[in-house]
């Protein structure tokens, strides 16, 4: 009889039943961070069905196209200077930027309201205010990627083209600062509109109307103001649309061509204050909106 | 006398066959269209309501083709499953709009009559957006009744409606059927179909699984033994007597008392049972056929 010896076969049936969770549970900070990351990825369609990746990446590609061409030229032909300044770039692709922010804001705000999944967030520890802030930050990050990527490419292009690193770094840095201010305001406006209207289509049109129509009107006023040699009016008008704010602030810092650049320290300061005020106002209203939605 | 006839109707989307060779006639009275989710009920109703063209076969109302024949809607009332989105209209405005679209001579009177039938006269002034689920269903029914149609098609009318309003809606449908209208409603909640429609058409994964009275259908399924639970004051002695019966296929003792009896021939078993019990001196405390309800008929058809 074969001696079984030390090894005796032993069958174990693991209990596949429900096992309670005993691991760590993180605080609101970590939860908000997780929501931010999820929102940022969703803004580019990552984590969502294939179809939803088309629009964001198409717009991003179109946005980067001019930068690629410039870098290509720099490297191959070697241009003495950037044909388009860092700060100039955001103005030229403002339509693409407008559509990107307008079409992606509903993904972060209207979607949860339309599909009712907002209830699942509000029935969890994260407070409504933090939910709104995390979503807003995600849209800001996505917009910054949209704006900073081309600047980075141009910057790398200049380094490869052995242009003078000092001035390039300085120009790029100032452009980056201006772009952050622009992103803050665009995210505020688009986020607020998307959080108010549940229907995606309507939110997109409303945001586009506010951004592009607003900019169109301000530019028209500025044109007339210069024609009438009364630039003051143009400068004031410039305070009322994110894009004109950007051009105005950029005129002083990065010699951006603006029809009626702000003259005098007071007016320049007004542009920066307007930038921050508009962003803060929209963010405040956004948070209020979600406090109301959560019923408290 | 309005009759809806489907003759060997099929409908497919690409290679997904939603409805497969179904022939059915729906006459006056209340008919329940029954089947699991995805069985093709909504597709069938869409075919009958002229919102889908049959890929094969014909769908006719009293001989007249339904597809792309908008005149049919003079005699057909439809209550779709979808929510109404005209939240900005009041109940009366919505029903009135339906009446006008039918080109009725006196849309106002027709609207009031329809609202009375579904007992929605008082809240009719309020906007639909403020209505409860039950009230929305009743307004939808009123909008389908306003032109006094001979045929009424309802897709899942009781979904999400609470008990009181469900009983009320059921009463309404029974009254419609009694008036001689041809009423067909789809549902997958058996309690509803059981209480309202005696005539059922069962559809399973696109095929016409059964039609007629569900009790009769159950008996037709002779290849399926009828399951009985018998509780007596001496189960084992009764079991010994039962197993000798040719109509009994199997007996199992239930752990909480009573016997599960599988019977092949219902007719002879029920006649023999009292005699056997009296002979064995066993008192029959409880006797219940456990699988005659629609639920089990349904389960058999689904698993067939």
């Amino acid at each position: 009889m074969a001696e079984r010896g030390a090894v005796e076969s032993r069958g174990v049936i693991h209990d596949l039943g429900y096992r309670p969770y005993t691991g760590p549970r993180q605080g609101e900070g970590a939860i908000a961070w997780a929501l931010f990351v999820n929102g940022f990825l969703n803004a580019f369609g990552i984590g969502r069905s294939g179809k939803s990746k088309v629009l964001p990446f198409l717009l991003l590609a179109l946005n980067l196209l001019p930068a690629v061409i410039v870098v290509g030229a720099m490297v191959l032909i070697g241009l003495p200077d950037l044909p388009i300044s860092y700060a100039q770039y955001a103005s030229t692709t403002q339509v693409l930027l407008g559509i990107f922010v307008a079409s992606q804001a509903p993904v972060l705000f209207s979607r949860d309201l339309r599909h009712g999944s907002i209830t699942l967030y509000l029935a969890r520890p994260l407070r409504a205010t933090h939910y709104a802030l995390a979503r807003w930050a995600a849209l800001l990050a996505a917009t910054l990627v949209f704006l900073l990527l081309p600047i980075l490419m141009l910057y790398v292009g200049t380094l490869l083209g052995e242009l003078d690193a000092g001035t390039q770094t300085e120009d790029a840095a100032t452009a980056a600062l201006l772009v952050v201010l622009l992103a803050l305001t665009l995210t505020g406006v688009a986020g607020l509109i998307a959080s108010v209207s549940v229907r995606r289509g309507f939110a997109v049109v409303a945001t586009i109307a506010v951004l592009l129509l607003g900019n169109g009107i301000v530019t028209a006023i500025q044109g007339i103001a210069t024609e009438q040699e009364r630039p003051r009016i143009g400068e004031i008008a410039g305070l009322f649309s994110p894009y004109s704010l950007y051009r105005g602030a950029g005129a002083a810092l990065a010699d951006l061509d603006s029809l009626t650049p702000p003259t005098g320290a007071g007016m320049e300061a007004a542009y920066y204050v307007a930038f921050v005020a508009l962003a803060a106002l929209c963010l405040g209203l956004l948070v209020l909106r979600y406090r109301k939605v959560s019923g408290r | 006398m309005t009759t809806l006839t489907l003759d060997a109707v099929s409908r497919w989307y690409g290679n997904v066959v939603a409805v497969n060779g179904i022939s059915m006639t729906v006459g006056p009275g209340v008919t329940g269209l029954l089947g699991p989710n995805g069985a093709g009920k909504t597709t069938l109703i869409a075919l009958m309501a002229g919102f889908l063209s049959p890929s094969a076969g014909t769908v006719t109302l009293d001989g007249e083709q339904i597809w792309r024949n908008t005149d049919v809607y003079r005699r057909v009332g439809l209550v779709p499953e979808r929510e109404i989105s005209f939240g900005y209209l009041t109940g009366r405005q919505f029903v009135l709009a339906n009446a006008e679209l039918h080109g009725l001579t006196d849309p106002g009177a027709a609207t009031e009559r329809a609202l009375e039938i579904v007992e929605m006269v008082d809240p009719a002034g309020r906007r639909i957006g403020t209505y409860s689920k039950g009230m929305r269903q009743r307004v939808k029914l009123a909008s389908a009744l306003v032109h006094d149609p001979g045929v009424l098609l309802l897709d899942e009318p009781f979904n999400g409606v609470d008990p009181r309003q469900r009983l009320h809606l059921m009463g309404l449908l029974q009254r419609m059927g009694a008036e001689g209208r041809t009423v067909l409603f789809s549902s997958h909640i058996l309690e509803e179909v059981e209480q309202v429609a005696r005539q059922i058409e069962v559809v399973v994964s696109g095929r016409h699984a059964a039609s007629g009275d569900f009790g009769a259908i159950r008996r037709l399924m002779t290849d399926r033994p009828v399951q009985y639970v018998v509780v007596s004051d001496d189960d084992r002695r009764l079991a010994a007597a039962l197993i000798a019966e040719p109509s009994v296929v199997g007996v199992t003792v239930r752990d909480r008392g009573g016997l599960d009896v599988a019977v092949s021939d219902l007719g002879s078993f029920v006649v023999r049972l009292p005699l056997l019990a009296r002979g064995a001196g066993v008192r029959l405390v409880e006797l219940t056929p456990t699988d005659e309800s629609l639920e089990s008929v349904f389960a058999y058809l689904v698993s067939a």
Binding site: R124 | P36, P163, V271, T288
Partner: protein, 320 residues
Amino acid sequence: MDTVVRTEGLTKDYGSVLALDDLSLEIGPGITGLVGANGAGKSTLIKILLGLLTPTRGAATVLGHDIARASAEIRTEVGYLPEHDCLPPDVSASDFVVHLAMMSGLPRVAARERAAEVLRHVGLAEERYRPMGGYSTGMKQRAKLAQALAHDPRLVLLDEPTNGLDPAARDDMLGLVQRIGEDFGIAVIVTSHLLGELERVSDHVVILDGGKLLRASRTDEFLDATGTLLVEVLGDDAQARMAAALAEAGVMTQARGGLIALEPPNPAADRSGVPDLHDLVRDTAADLGLGLVRIQADHRRIEDVFHDAPADVTAEVARG
């Protein structure tokens, strides 16, 4: 810890509608059915317990936490399955449940494991990787249940989990609710329109009507026998002949649809000579050669609470 939920004088007054009216009740562990017509206050109560809605008056505690002060703690330990649609169509169930587990404070790795575990328990196999837009109603309800369990709550609030399900899916869902209450050791509060379900699943039932507590007791108390016996016979003119024979034997009968309802014998009357009702039915059927299809004790059902006009029911329920 016995009481899972306790409310004292909980009231929610929307001005036009009094959603909850001075509601004081206690819900213990196990599975409790919450029953009521549309607008009876079920969803309002659930939202207040979750801290999504502030009550006009009154107080409540959930799992020992006071809803006024410790609302965040409650929302960490409670799972919620809303009645309305709440699933984004372009996200897969797996990604969604992992994400929501993280929203409840679980780190990513733990969230991923828990999600896979819970999705297996609710019966979502490889469909969990497809976008939820293409799910059947049954699969959507399973995904909604999975997100309510992902963070291992001590109490789950299920708002009409079987809504829109066909019989097969409904039985699965009820089986799941029962396993959650019994095997998983999680307290369950479940609402439903189909009262038959709650009879099968819950061991306690709370009935709300117009924001007030109509009745709260163990489930079996609702289903006490009424003493009447229902009999069904088969054969030519079976029902009439059976009824006549029983009448001769001194038993009052009523026709109820296809059945015969035998009134319970008057307890006071002298019962010595009269054979037991069941034997009487058996022997009469045997003598007449009729098929005996059904003998059943007639039970009251929760639904009957709705049939009786609300007026007399509230009278029956002692106030307070």
